[in-house]
Each structure stands twice: as C-alpha cells, then as structure tokens.
C-alpha cells in the first residue's frame, strides 16, 4: 500500500516537474491577480478584512486552476484505466490528495510574500497567519480532491469543477478569511484553525469511503 502511494506520488511529481502545467498556470494566475489588485488599490493600505478577503480569493481561484488537473489528466491521457488496474483505489486517492496538498502549499508559499509585498500588508502575528493559511489550504485540498475525481468522470471539465467545488469549499474559505483577518490584526486564530482541521478531517474520512465508488467502474 505504502509503495503504491509513494509510486503514484512520485509519478505525479515527475509529470508535474516535466510539464509544470498545474503550477505554472496557478502561479501565473496568482501573480496576475495580485498585481491587478495592487494596481487598482493604487498604494492605499486596505483594511484587515479586505486584505484577508482578497488574499483568499486570489489563493482559491489560483488553486482551482491546478487542483482538478490531477484527475482530469489521467482521464484525458487515457491512463486512468491503467491506474485502476495497477493501484488500489485508496493508494490513488492518498497520492492525489498529498499531491494536491503540496500544490496548494507551494501556491500559498509563493502568493503570501508576493501579496504582502505588493499590497503593503503588515501581519501582526506571522505565526498565526501561517497557521491559518496552512489549515485553510489543507481544507481546500481535502475537499476538492474527491470532487476533482467526480468531475473527471463527468467529462465536462473546468466550469463544472468550480460550480460543484465552490459551495463545498465556502465554509472553510469563510472561516479562513476570518482567521487570516484575526492574524493580520494580531488576534487569536485557534478557533478558526480548529474548525478548518475538523472540516479537513471529516472531508478526508468521507472521501476515503466514497473514492472506491467514484473511481472503480462497474
């Protein structure tokens, strides 16, 4: 099982390293939107609530471009059937989940300093900001991975993924914005982080149970 997970994860990273499709698109999108927001703000320092909101909107839409790709690529290139035969469903899901977590963490690691630099953000509690960002990213990745598998099977790609993901991702996004605002203002984020971790745990557990039904064809 662990070998299958490691093998799948390595394969996904190799393909991504070779093509850099998901990360290139996501990072370009993040850079463009951050610059656009900074340009339109015209150097004015925004309120903590607005800064947190814009940060998560940029992060969410940048990530949406890359997260679905992990399953749609398998269906488009015809490798899904091979993967179904060679790896257990749980191993495939775990590898894809870990890959998506890594992708969104990389995106967040690039966006955060870029955003702070261009929008003149002064974070009162950097450790709380990091905790809120990591917990929020984990919640987004854990809820979108299983939905990416559903969308890949549905055939209609981009728009459907955003439509079905948005309502599911909205509660963690909402809480993450509140926690980030609190971190920027120097307040405690523990309640928000606990909510995000609980949400991630619930979604990962349900995804594990459902993935076999989504992935295996009768």
């Amino acid at each position: 099982m662990l070998d299958a997970i490691a093998g799948n994860l390595l394969k996904d990273f190799r393909i991504e390293f070779r093509r850099r499709f998901a990360l290139n698109i996501a990072l370009s999108f993040a850079a463009i939107t951050t610059l656009a927001v900074s340009l339109t703000a015209g150097g004015v320092r925004l309120a903590a609530q607005t800064q947190a909101m814009l940060f998560w909107i940029i992060l969410f839409f940048s990530a949406m471009n890359g997260l679905a790709h992990v399953f749609t690529r398998e269906e488009e290139e015809g490798t899904a059937l091979f993967l179904r035969v060679t790896s257990p469903a749980a191993a495939v899901y775990t590898a894809k989940l870990l890959f998506n977590i890594a992708v969104i963490f990389i995106i967040a690691a690039v966006i955060s300093p870029l955003y702070a630099f261009f929008l003149n953000v002064e974070v009162a509690s950097p450790s709380a900001f990091a905790a809120a960002t990591c917990a929020g990213c984990l919640a987004i990745a854990s809820s979108t991975t299983v939905l990416a598998a559903i969308v890949a099977k549905a055939g209609s790609r981009g728009s459907l993924f955003t439509i079905i993901s948005f309502p599911v991702v909205l509660p963690p996004l909402w809480i993450a914005i509140g926690a980030t605002r609190a971190a920027i203002a120097g307040n405690t984020v523990a309640e928000g982080v606990v909510f995000l971790l609980a949400f991630s745990g619930a979604l990962i557990a349900v995804s594990y149970m459902l993935f076999g039904h989504i992935w295996i064809e009768e």
Binding site: V146, F166, P167, V168, P171, L210
Partner: protein, 221 residues
C-alpha cells in the same frame, strides 16, 4: 394510505392553530405567525437533505440491488429539499424585511441556507452533466454524501461561531423551545404536518418515477 389521511388531519389543524389559537409574540405582533410556517419549512429542508443523503449511502452500499428505486428516492428527496429551502428562504426574507428593514442581511443563518441551496444547485448541475452516463447514480450519490458531510458545518456550526441577529427560540444552545405553551403546541403540530406532507410528496414523486421508468422500459405496452 395512512400518511395521506394524517396529512389531511394535521395540515388544516396546523393552519387553524397558527392563525386562531396561538397568541402573537410580544414586540413581534402578527409577524410572529410566520414562525409556524418558516420553521417547519426550514426543518423539512434539513430532513429532506438528511433523507437524500442516507438514501444515497444506501444506494452506494447496495451491491445486490435490494433497493431498486433508491436512486429515484434520493433525487426526489433532494428536489423536495431544494423547494422547501427556497420557501424557507423566501418566508425568512419577508420576516427580515418586516423586522430588520431589508430582505437580505447576510445573517449567519441566511448565509447558511443560501450556501445549502448552492450545494444542491451544484448537485443538479452535476446530474445534468452526467445525463446518459452509467455512472450517473454513483457519482451524484457520492456528491450528495459529501454535501451531507458539509451541511452540519453550515447549519449548526457557522451560526454559533458568528454573531447572529436571528431569534433563537427553537434552535439554541439550550436545546429547548423557548415559547409559550400555546405557541409551542402550534409549532409542534405545524412541524408534524409539514414532515408528513414531505413524506406524502416524496411517496408521490417516487411513484411517478416508477411509472416513468416502467414506461421507458416498455413504451408500447
């Protein structure tokens, strides 16, 4: 059918109790009568989503095909849930306009129900995208189960994390109904009536689905 008779008894009783028996609440006046329709509609929307989620789990777990009409059941229940959630939103908005001065205030409970509606509109979009595919039932059932996992975070957790203007005589941390005896009785009868109406409509829709499926299998008989 027993449930039909019960609907015919409880529904008029609920209307009579709401308008003729229950007193008006202090400060709220006649607008408080909306409680006997808004709360049961919101309750039925949650009940319908729970039933559709449980039916979706049964559908996914049923490898031997022991429950042949279960796919139609979870879909019909989700349809009824969406309808009642829309009606609960509309009735709540009317009350919000009368009490708070605007139809929409982004109160946590209003936000929760609108996101719930978004989830189920996404479910119907997914089902449309899967039309004609053999995996339609499995994938839409899987999405419903995911939606059911997210629902408690909306309905119960978010309104407790954020401050709400919404009155809490029914859903509150004490888990008790803070109402006068007459009002409580009217509300309980209304809750029972709307729950029975939901099961009655669900059974009707399921029968309609069975007839449609039979007609598709043998269209010339």
């Amino acid at each position: 059918m027993a449930i039909t008779r019960l609907v015919y008894i409880f529904m008029p009783a609920a209307v009579i109790l709401a308008f003729c028996y229950a007193p008006t609440a202090a400060l709220l006046g006649e607008t408080s009568r909306l409680l006997y329709f808004h709360v049961p509609l919101a309750w039925v929307s949650v009940l319908a989503f729970a039933v559709s989620g449980i039916a979706a789990i049964v559908f996914l777990a049923d490898k031997r095909g022991r429950f042949p009409g279960i796919e139609d059941s979870f879909h019909n229940s989700a349809s009824l849930g969406t309808l009642t959630a829309l009606l609960a939103t509309a009735s709540g908005s009317v009350w919000a306009k009368l009490m708070w001065g605007s139809y929409w205030n982004w109160d946590p409970r209003q936000t929760s129900i609108i996101i719930l509606l978004l989830i189920y509109s996404a479910y119907f979009s997914l089902r449309s995208a899967l039309a004609g595919k053999p995996a339609r039932g499995r994938l839409s059932a899987a999405y419903l189960v995911i939606a059911m996992t997210v629902m408690p975070f909306f309905v119960f957790v978010v309104p407790r994390v954020f401050l709400s203007l919404h009155p809490d005589p029914v859903i509150n941390p004490d888990m008790k109904i803070h109402l006068e005896t007459e009002m409580r009785l009217a509300l309980i009868v209304s809750l029972v009536a709307f729950s029975l109406l939901y099961f009655y409509l669900l059974e009707l829709l399921n029968r309609l689905s069975r007839i449609r499926n039979a007609a598709e299998v043998s269209p010339h008989e």
